[in-house]
Amino acid sequence: MDLLRFITCGSVDDGKSTLIGRLLYDSDSVSLDILAALESRGAAQGNVDLALLTDGLKAEREQGITIDVAYKYFTTPRRKFIITDAPGHVQYTRNMVTGASNADLAIVLVDARHGVIEQTRRHSIIAALLGIKHFVLAVNKMDLVGYDEDVFHKIVADYQDITKLLKLTDVTPIPMSALQGDNIVRNSEHMAWYTGPNLLEHLEAVPGAEETKAEPRFQVQYVVRPQTAELPDYRGYAGQIQSGSYRRGDKVQVLPSGLESTIEAIEINQQEVEEAVAPQGVIIRLADDVDISRGDTIVPAHHVPHLTRELEATLCWMAETPLRAGRRFLLQHHAALVKASLPTILYRLDVQSLTHLGAEEARLNDIVRVRLKTAVPLAADPYRQNRKSGSFILVDEQTGNTVAAGLIEAVDPDYFTVAEPGAVAFSI
C-alpha cells in the first residue's frame, strides 16, 4: 500500500467540500461520532451537509467559507490518501500554492452548469506551475444538467485550450455528482454513456510520487556525533534523500565546499544498507574526514548541481506588506539558510492570461518573476527538474514570517530572462 497526496481546486460553489465529504463518507472514512455531530447540526438546517466534514475552524463556520488549507485522510485497501483542501477564491492564491506544493495530483472542479470559467484556468495554471503532473477534470453537478453527455463533452473540449497552454500530459475528465454520489466511489447509474473510471478508481491507479527518478540529492540536516567511549570518532551526516538514490561506495562531492570523498556507509535505523532511495531518512558516513555542516549538499560526483549565488525564480508573495526590489531576506533552501537580496522584479504573471505585466511591486497573492542574490552559494536545480532542490521560501528577517514561496527557474545566468514586461511568454 502506498501514499498519494492530492489537492482539490475549486470554490464552495463548485461543491468542493461536498466532493471531499462524499469521498470520506462513501469510503467509510467518517467516524460515527462525527456523523452524529453532523446530523445534529444538519437537522437544524434541514439536512445533512457533507461539506461540514471539511469545515474546521470557527471563523469559517461563521462566515461559511474555508479560509485556510486543511488536511484530510482516508485509506482504501490500495492506498492511503492525504487530501489537501485549499480554498478557491481569488485572494487565496497563497493557500493554493501552499496546498499544491506537496501534491502529486490536482482535482480541478468545474460546475457542469457553468463550464470552464476563469477560476478553472487560474487553478490549473497554479497547479501546473507548482509541478503537479496528474490532473482530474471533475465535472461536478451533472445531476443539475440532467446527466447530459453533450454538456460533459463540451466542457472537456473547452478544457483542451488549457491542456495545450500548460502542456499537460495527464488529464482525466470524469462526469460526477458529489451530492448524489455519482462516479465518486460508485459508478453512476445515471451516466451509462461514461465508461471511464470513477474518481476513487482513478485515484487508486494513478502513479504516486516519483522522486526516485530525479537526480540524487541529499542535504545534511544534522551531524550525529555521539563522542562516547565506544564511538569516539563517529561522524554521521543525518538527512533525508530528497530525490534519486544513493549507494555505498558512491564517489561524492560536498557542496558548496567542492570537497570529494566516498560513501563509506549508509545507515537506516543503525543498520548499514547497500542502497537508499528518496524520501528515506538516512545517516551517511564518508571515508574522509571533511568539514561538513547543516545545509551542505552531498551528491554523487557525476550528478553535481549548479552552484550559484544568483538565481532567477518565480515567487508567490504571501505577506500583507508589498514586495519591492532591493529588499533583503533569509532564504531557506530546505536545510540551508542563507542571507539573500532581491535586486530585480522582472515581471508579474497574470494567472488568468499568462501575460507578463510590468511590476514595481508584488502584492499579497501576486506571482512574480525575480532575480535573487545569495550571500553563500546554493546547490540548486531548476524547479522543473526537481521539486525539492528547486524550491525555497523567503523569510522576513525581523518577524521570522514566511513571506514568499520560491520556485527556481534558472541557476545559470545564460538562461536568465531579459526583462520584457508585456510580452506573452510562459513556460512551465
Binding site: Q221, Y222, A238
Partner: protein, 301 residues
C-alpha cells in the same frame, strides 16, 4: 531498489521533521505523556538520532490524575532509552499559583496543564516542544501546521499561521515565542497502530483489554474508577472488560468495552469501530463543539 510503502513514507517524513528541530533550535523538548503517540515519537527519535543521544529531554506534564501503570511505563522507557526525563506536576502549579483545583464529579485537570506547560517552557527556555498530536484527532487540528508558532502566552492564532510549503519548515522565532512541532501530523489512529505493530513497540497495559472497575456515565460511557473521582452514592459501578484508546487525565478519559488484547485485535477493532478516538474517550471536547479550538487558542497543546 527498495520500494517504500505508506508507513515508510510517514516514518521518513517524521524523521525529517525531528531532525529539522534538532538542526534549527537551541533548546528543544519532546513532550512525553506515556501515551502511544508520544511512545511512537521516541521510536522515531531513535531512528533519527542513534547512535547519538536525543538532542532533547523528554518532558512530562503530570496532571496527578494518571493511571499508575502509565507512570511506571514512562519511567521504565526513559531509563531504557537512557534519555533525560523532566517531570513537572500540575499539583505544584496549583499550589504555587494559588489556582483552583477543579471540583465536581469528574474534576479534569486538563485545562490546568496549560499553566504547567508554560512554566516548564519558561524554566528551561525551551524554544521548540515536540508533541504527538495528529490532524485527524479533531477538526481544529486539521489546519494546524507541523511547525506551529506560539506567542509568549502559548496562544495559537489560526489566522496568523505561517504557510508551510513543500517540506520546508520555518522555525525562525522572536524572543518569547516558541514553536510546537507535530511530526506525526499526517498519521491517523490506524496508521499509528499499524506502525506499532510493524515496529513491535511496547505500550502500557491499559491500552489492551483488561478487567477494570468502572463508573457508568449517564451517556453510557465507562470511566475507570480512581480515587480522583467524587462519586455519588447511587452511581453505578461495574466490572468490565475494557481498554483505553488514549491515556490522559483519568477523570476525563473514558474506557471502551473491548476484548482486544493484542495489537492485531485493536487494529481489527478500529477498522470495525469507526468511532474516532477523541470522540470515544475524551469527555472535555464535548463541552462545546469548538472545545479544542478554544483550548488551543489558550495555549493548550
Amino acid at each position: 531498489m527498495p520500494t517504500l510503502d505508506y508507513l515508510d513514507r510517514l516514518e521518513a517524513e517524521a524523521i525529517h521533521i525531528l531532525r529539522e528541530v534538532a538542526g534549527q533550535f537551541e533548546r528543544p523538548a519532546l513532550l512525553f505523556s506515556g501515551g502511544k503517540d508520544s511512545i511512537v515519537l521516541t521510536r522515531l527519535a531513535e531512528k533519527a538520532f542513534r547512535p547519538g543521544k536525543f538532542p532533547f529531554p523528554l518532558v512530562h506534564v503530570d496532571t496527578g490524575h494518571n493511571f499508575p501503570e502509565v507512570l511506571a511505563f514512562r519511567d521504565a522507557l526513559a531509563a531504557q532509552l537512557g534519555e533525560k526525563l523532566v517531570v513537572r506536576k500540575v499539583e505544584d502549579t496549583i499550589k504555587q499559583k494559588g489556582l483552583q483545583d477543579p471540583t465536581g464529579k469528574y474534576p479534569s485537570r486538563n485545562p490546568l496543564q496549560t499553566y504547567t506547560l508554560l512554566d516548564v517552557i519558561e524554566e528551561f527556555e525551551f524554544d521548540a516542544c515536540i508533541g504527538g498530536a495528529r490532524r485527524d484527532e479533531e477538526k481544529a487540528r486539521a489546519k494546524e501546521r507541523i511547525f506551529s508558532v506560539r506567542d509568549d502566552f502559548g496562544q495559537w492564532d489560526p489566522k496568523r499561521q505561517r504557510p508551510e510549503l513543500w517540506n520546508i519548515y520555518n522555525g525562525k522565532i522572536q524572543k518569547g515565542e516558541n514553536v510546537r512541532v507535530f511530526p506525526i501530523s499526517n498519521w491517523t489512529e490506524l496508521d499509528v497502530w499499524n506502525y506499532i505493530r510493524r515496529e513491535n513497540i511496547a505500550l502500557p497495559e491499559i491500552y489492551f483489554a483488561h478487567e477494570r472497575q468502572c463508573v457508568v456515565l449517564p451517556g453510557g460511557q465507562l470511566l475507570g474508577l480512581t480515587e480522583h473521582l467524587h462519586l455519588d452514592a447511587d452511581d453505578e459501578i461495574v466490572s468490565r472488560q475494557v481498554r483505553f484508546r488514549t491515556v490522559g487525565d483519568a477523570t476525563c478519559t473514558a474506557a471502551v468495552a473491548s476484548d482486544a488484547s493484542t495489537v492485531e485485535d485493536i487494529i481489527a477493532d478500529i477498522i470495525q469501530a469507526k468511532v474516532s478516538e477523541r470522540g470515544a474517550t475524551r469527555l472535555d471536547d464535548t463541552i462545546s463543539e469548538t472545545g479544542m479550538e478554544d483550548r488551543k487558542r489558550n495555549g493548550y497543546f
